[in-house]
């Protein structure tokens, strides 16, 4: 397993795609941090009925943007680490070097968590760096010393790492690189947001929306852009964490017994 992990580390270190994703994520999160910090510090118009977000809630909304809106980046990086093996057929020499397919998948999942931590740290720091000065100047303060803020911020880093783990699972299920990218983008940018809003509006499905992966990850973090806007409720933190992890594990296990059991041709 150690050799497999070193091999995976070298695969990451010798390719550039995830660096591009990381840099784009940093820029995007810093930008969103600025925009969101401005938004939450605007006073709602009289009689608009909108609930102002202030204090710690404002800070949490801004600082956990990485998980709320930036999780597509580690998810893509994780998925592409697997689909690239199929796209470039490097899975053939990889399985020749070590034919144990569970070891291959396990090393990929673990190494993706490490890369995901990098996405978590960079993405979270970028949104904090973008939003904190504005919150401090225009709002109720940056709240960077508060445990109520720091714990969700740290968990946001953890959640983003798990997104990379989930990504490897997605890539194992959908080995076609283009298809995997399309599915990830469509699901994260379109399907899940609509589902969460739509299910929240239908009484029968209201309870199910919180089991969607994005909602579960927000439950783990303990802060949600959606929830703070009053649009959906979340699971308790431990339950959310378990549901979120279960997605990654489920995808990986299904992938192990479908894609990785098949013939490699």
């Amino acid at each position: 397993m150690r050799a497999a992990l070193v091999s995976e580390y070298r695969k990451w270190a010798s390719t550039r795609m995830w660096w591009i994703l990381l840099i784009v994520m940093a820029a995007y999160m810093a930008f969103l941090g600025v925009v969101m910090a401005f938004t939450v510090t605007l006073q709602p118009a009289e009689g608009s009925g909108a609930m102002p977000i202030d204090g710690i809630d404002a800070a949490l909304t801004v600082y956990t943007l990485g998980n709320a809106l930036g999780y597509v980046f580690p998810l893509l990086a994780g998925a592409m680490s697997m689909t690239a093996e199929f796209r470039y057929q490097t899975i053939t020499p990889a399985l020749l070097a070590d034919p144990r397919r569970s070891v291959f998948l396990g090393a990929k999942l673990l190494s993706a968590v490490l890369i995901g931590l990098a996405f978590g740290v960079v993405g979270t720091l970028a949104s904090v760096a973008g939003g904190a000065p504005i919150l401090a100047l225009r709002g109720d303060g940056a709240f960077l010393g508060s445990t109520d803020v720091l714990v969700p911020v740290l968990l946001s880093v953890v959640a983003l790492a798990i997104w990379a783990f989930v990504g490897v699972g997605v890539g194992t299920l959908i080995t076609n690189q283009v298809a995997a990218i399309v599915v990830v983008l469509a699901f994260t940018q379109f399907v899940e947001p609509i589902l969460r809003l739509g299910m929240g509006a239908v009484e029968l499905l209201e309870g199910a929306a919180k089991f969607l992966p994005g909602a579960a990850s927000e439950a783990l973090v303990g802060a949600s852009t959606y929830a703070s806007l009053g649009m959906s409720d979340l699971l308790q933190r431990p339950a959310g964490a378990l549901v979120f992890l279960a997605y990654g594990l489920l995808f990986a296990v299904i992938g192990r017994f479908t894609t990785l059991r098949r013939d490699i041709t």
């Binding site: 695969k11 010798s14 490097t90 053939t92 020749l96 013939d263 041709t265």
Partner: protein
Amino acid sequence: MISIDSLTKTFGTVRAVDDLTFEVRPGVVTGFLGPNGSGKTTTLRMLLGLVSPTAGRATIDGREYAQIPQPARVVGAALEAASFHPGRTGLDHLRVFAPQVGVSDQRCRELLEMVGLADAAKRRVGGFSLGMRQRLALATTLLGDPPVLVLDEPANGLDPGGIRWLRELLRHFAAQGRTVLVSSHVLSEVQQTVDDVVIISRGRLVHASPLAELAAQAERHVDVVSPDAEALKAVLDAQRWSYAPASHDGTRVFRVADVAAAQVGAAAYAAGVELHALTQTEVELEDVFLRLTGQTDQPDAVQEVAA
């Protein structure tokens, strides 16, 4: 020793490999030959544990590939020259697999030098020519200094100099007592390299022997032309040679089977028959190969499936 034992693989209704049995002995280079789509790559992938057989077994010294601990130290295999991440450098490609093979970066550099890619160590594989990729694939197989080499179409994309270099390298490995199995869809490409041949067609074994025995199957013949066709016929009949008249640009040519030009010339001279042409057709192994694999008739229905 590689043993392929009653190996069968079906894809849907197609039997890509059909009850195939042969052995590859150490110390020689064995050519694994067949037209595209005849099941060569599928056979090799089953041997290497990438494809699971429908029936039968493929073993290396009695063990299946997946049962060998650190298999890359026992078997070096290259399948297709396309298994590279284009963004990775030549050296990084080797370094990715080095931990599992259990070798150092130094060994990776040595191998790049050995296959003539030392200058390309820091270049991305995306910019490599097909020949360079073949060399890099070969370097990957040699990482663990394995006693068994399995190479799928290694000569594809190599220039004539590269093919010659590969031939000498493979002969050298065989001389060291290693087992070397090389696939190709063109016999002439490996004719000067291999000692043994295993020929398959439509997933079935059609011939396995030392190359010399295959060559013995090649039919030589002599084309002979005389202005006095009747006299020549009488000579050929007197010798009890089998021949067939053929027409060549209006001249009558007699194609005489399984004789040497000197025999025909001597017989004609002794009978006083004037000859205008006497052409020996040398052993054409490729023709034997094409005949064995049925490529002289019609296209193979299985061809597209198993490549």
